[in-house]
Symmetry: D2
Subunit: 406 residues, 4 copies
């Protein structure tokens, strides 16, 4: 295996005149669709050192995975993800399954010398995430790379926000307020899904969407959350079974089943630079569909973002004459903005899936260059530790809880 890795240190196989990177994807639901689109589109708009090749998709049910392969444009399908690990035409395994299977698949893939892209949250427990980070560290020494899919980092407005903070434009960070607001189960009669089952999903709003805003807050500020005080809540603890009769664990004969994860999470945090942060993740905010909001106030300025207007970053420069100062609505569609130059003229905005395209681009480039793609599994583990600290705090009267360090 070492030989293979050395020979293919870029993760690329020669295919005629042009190197390709064979991708094998595991899972083909919502995330599988988004990732498929990314692999298909990335090489059309970006200059890539190697061309991703949509080699094979794996899923448990033969008919469904065959249909997914046809629909999303994968050359082949498999019903056993382990087959991907031994295929020569697969250099990268893309893990799009629920969180309870991430560790097993990702670790096995890395051990087989496959690069890995793994959806967030990295795992359903800190323990699993630690094992994954360890496996990724081992693999990296052999030139095999792993990345976790915090895709919102690749929204151009978010990437620009990070640049502005890094350039010192807002100075020392004083405040972060980060919210992820949805309403998809605000209706008390919305049916159960695997995302409401602790065993499958690991966590509810906290792990599913809270993870994103923890990552964004840290990514944009370049700081870490060092401690938290949290509160979790399950507003609706029993729901109707889904219409398709999917037998979920613990379902009562009444046709209803228990919700075993949190519906909402709120927590305070302290940043490594001394700033204060407030976080909120909920699926009960009627009218907010996918409102990922991030506001950062620093000693020299402020930034604000809302995914419901995703092509815009608001920026306040406190060094300006107050007479002319105001939050600028920067339409992040200029050629000089991150990722944007590859797309359309100014004012022609991007959509949700473009973040996945950018993620694929950054990953392919890192693999080809032999550098560590970001966010790494270690980054994913660190987010997991923040979430675990929130859970511990919530279980202990919101008492301040230090985030474990590696």
């Amino acid at each position: 295996m070492t030989g293979m890795v050395e020979q293919e240190s870029t993760g690329a196989a020669e295919d005629g005149a042009r190197a390709t990177l064979g991708v094998g994807m595991v899972g083909h639901a919502f995330m599988g669709q988004a990732h498929s689109q990314a692999w298909r589109v990335a090489p059309r708009f970006f200059d890539l050192p190697v061309e991703p090749r949509m080699a094979v998709v794996a899923g448990r049910r033969a008919a469904a995975v065959e249909e997914a392969a046809r629909r999303w444009g994968w050359a082949e399908s498999e019903t056993d993800w382990r087959k991907l690990l031994v295929r020569d035409d697969v250099q990268l395994v893309d893990v799009c399954t629920p969180g309870d299977t991430h560790a097993e698949i990702a670790i096995a893939a890395l051990e087989h010398g496959k690069h890995v892209l793994c959806e967030k949250p990295l795992a359903n427990s800190v323990e699993e995430a630690e094992q994954m980070a360890a496996a990724a560290a081992d693999a990296a020494e052999r030139g095999v790379m792993a990345m976790v899919g915090f895709t919102y980092r690749r929204v151009p407005a978010i990437a620009l926000a990070r640049e502005l903070v890094a350039e010192g434009r807002i100075g020392t960070v004083r405040h972060v307020r980060a919210q992820y607001l949805q309403d998809w189960i605000a209706d008390e009669d919305a049916p159960l899904s695997w995302r409401l089952d602790k065993q499958k999903a690991g966590s509810g709003a906290l792990g599913d969407i809270g993870a994103h805003v923890v990552d964004l807050a840290q990514h944009v500020t370049g700081e870490r959350v060092t401690g938290v005080a949290g509160l979790l809540e399950t507003f609706v603890d029993e729901r109707p079974l889904p219409a398709d009769g999917g037998a979920l664990r613990g379902t009562a004969s009444s046709g209803r089943g228990p919700v075993t994860v949190d519906d909402a999470a709120v927590f305070l945090g302290r940043l490594s630079g001394g700033g204060l942060a407030t976080f909120e993740a909920t699926r009960f905010a009627w009218g907010r569909k996918n409102a990922i909001r991030l506001e950062v106030n620093g000693s020299r300025g402020s930034l604000a973002f809302d995914f419901e207007d995703m092509n815009v970053l608001h920026y306040y420069d406190a060094t300006e004459d107050p007479r002319l100062a105001g939050f600028r609505r920067v339409l992040v569609t200029e050629p000089d903005h991150p990722y944007v130059g590859a797309w359309w003229p100014a004012g022609h905005g991007l959509g949700y899936e473009h973040g996945f395209v950018h993620q694929a681009v950054d990953l392919v480039r890192a693999i080809a260059a032999g550098t560590q793609p970001e966010p790494s599994f270690a980054d994913g583990l660190q987010v997991q530790r923040v979430l675990a600290a929130v859970e511990r705090s919530a279980a202990d009267r919101s008492t301040w809880t230090t985030v474990e360090e590696s």
Copy 2:
């Protein structure tokens, strides 16, 4: 004294054909200016059962208070506020001084049979606030009324929000997020002021502006905050003395003095109906000038408000067809909106000081009707207890702290 109260059960003195209510105001800085405008304007736009009369303003420095009287239109001035308590032409004492003097003035006024309007926060400590609430309860039995000045309750959009919640339009409250964001000391070289001195101000952002959003959250939802987990921070602990050389306590010879209050406060809360709340009060949010933001998500809909666009309430009705649903930008300038009918045609918005006018109107009407004006001193005390719980929690590793009940 009892005789006077009975004789003037409306608090009004006959003055020709029209009853008047003599007002004596103590303090004449920012709040004094706003209250003066309220007393002057209220009877011009609203039908009042008695007409407020701007009888006398009190302040310590003769020249300044005389100038204030002339400028703001008070008939006379006094340098000793105690004089107001014994004047027959004063039926109401309006307390606009810093918080450390509220208890003494308000209690004395109530004891002298004067109705009292007291600026918020009610007092600098829970103990003082308790004494004030007790005095107000006693006075109420004698028909003498007391009210605390949470003026933002009277912004029409906020009053409408409360109506909509009370009508059940958003159902059970799940989430409140309440923020009061300013930037007036975000500059580290902004000078010291009495508002940064614990002895004078009692508290920093928490008591000065956090009090407002605690009151608004409770007022709009009709619920109480029952417990909190909080974090306080002083980002800049020493500042230059003000240019006018005002000698503040503990100032160093270096021309700088200590900041002895919090610069920012963040806290989680639980509402009496089971909902979750997040609160934030800061003076370090560059670009946010007076951003009082309140969002409430319920089981049937949502509401959102930002004082920087104060004539607007955003309302989401979850019972509508999702195809047509969206936050409605209700311009709260219709004749049927609270307070609005007395002013201008639709679309002709109101400003900051109109809330003070409405406060004066509601107070005068309650006094004339012999009913308890809201918010009462008991309401002010309850807000104080929430703030005290935040301080205790912050001093005890953010541990969950129950708000004391009366």
Copy 3:
């Protein structure tokens, strides 16, 4: 009279230690209320060289004008406006009547040596407006001043916009788009009012609200509209009589009467500097309550304003790095913004009537200084000429029509 004027060149009468300016107001409906508030409030927030005194209000019906005097705080009332012209305690006549009486009252007042503030539109015809402008020019030579009430000029955001253009911050003006959108008669069953009667009102949306945006476009850019192409429309030509049975001219026995003015006006214009302008004035834009919108694009930047968010000016600086450029939402509530320093701290916005206060302030200061207040009657006449050109164009197949010059 000359003697009086010389003796009182500031228009002020000595009243003890402080000079006052006696105001006599004619008319006491909507505009009368707004003007009353202005005279009452102006000296409380602004340092004025002379103090306005609300001496007398005139109206035709005794009971109504007496009630208005009491309500709005005028010392006396009269049923004949001519009485005001001969009262020694009146130095300024404030004309708040419908447009068909402006010329008669204003000219008579000027001839009697009274300064005049006249509501817009200056008159119902260009001919009358010319007579008024001539009378004002004569009076000015005798130190008697006249001003027309385009009050929106005094909204701080508009005043700031004018400053920015004058400073060259947006360069050469390329485009103006100016709209005044209301919906108060969008309902076809909304009743008739004098504003829909050509004889009383002179014009419909064009003269009532279109006049404002023509004035604003010219005021902010510092340019003149030199030619126009227009289109007028009356969507609903008959309406129910008002419930109070007020007998309007030409009403049918059916309980309905004719609408004799335009419901909406749209027109193109050319500015004196070569830029293009589009104008729209309508009362049929459902959901737009008082949406006065002005956008100006120049060779170096842009400005945008909407009265529905009246404390905000949006400013785009094209000289900035495109990566950071965006429309700035300037909250026009800073001490350095026009008029704002006299009011509240940053972020504490103003409302509709504050423009009237600023108008009173500017007028009083000009009178005291013996300088011509703006906008002058000549300015009002010029706006009238633009409107007349629109009417001529609309009557002649929208053919380009040059605005008459003086």
Copy 4:
């Protein structure tokens, strides 16, 4: 040829188990890139009756077209577009060239029995557009379809707007205000391009972007513009030659060349239902990058859209209680919204190119069903006639000009 058409009445060739539609694209600049993405992505998200196959792209320069084929994923390339007309693997010709070549290519393709998608504006003159519409009518009788690419019709918010009007939700249309604002040549030193050359582009802002808003206004309202009064302007009549030294017609030795089209167009219009419309198209609106704005006011409600926030439609329902009424910010990302169900969950917005995907979907479905796709060439011709009327009016002192009917 007839035989082929009959045999392939769906425009589809059998390819194994699945029918395909071979596409040949002419031109590969900005529009070619957008169309390529559409052909690639459409079958991945939408169920199509036949699968588009990216057969061949044509361009004049061999190296460039080869690179485009490789980059955008076309199977082959040609340097002579006429080759496409005789290829059996091409059933549809997609015309993405500048306007001066549209007529020749499209007519030839239709005559060869190829379906045609032609970019807007349909042609550079009404005469050419008439020939194209005639050719399309002939072809339609033979089952060969033609469509013009007004892609913004397929933005979900615009499609929803049309549905709401058609359902009668805003009643009779009173007003349309339609603007297309850009700033890409607001800088006077921006270089010449073929879009500023009358011979190539036919028209400037009017034809390039004004065409879009004329189409949108008509599409959303379901009405036609029957007459116009217009004004055109070229603010900057000479510009530097582009850096790549491309020799444009009539360029001076000085390194500068003439701008021979309009920079901006403003015009008034009358709708077939009697409503008024204002239009504006400019490339000189600093800060507006691609601001396609459409507001429609009807007798029962209003709609507003701005492409800079393209996933949102604002809707005002005038039948609601005014106390609760307001423009609703409908996030057009619900499964029931037009086109949206095929994409992501609610709140996960779309971007610019999705409109092209939807266009491809609608075209393929119409071809397969043998129905006329919309907008037809006749629709494109009608838009052309509106633009021509604007030009005639502008050349004749803005005099009202009736739009020619077919």
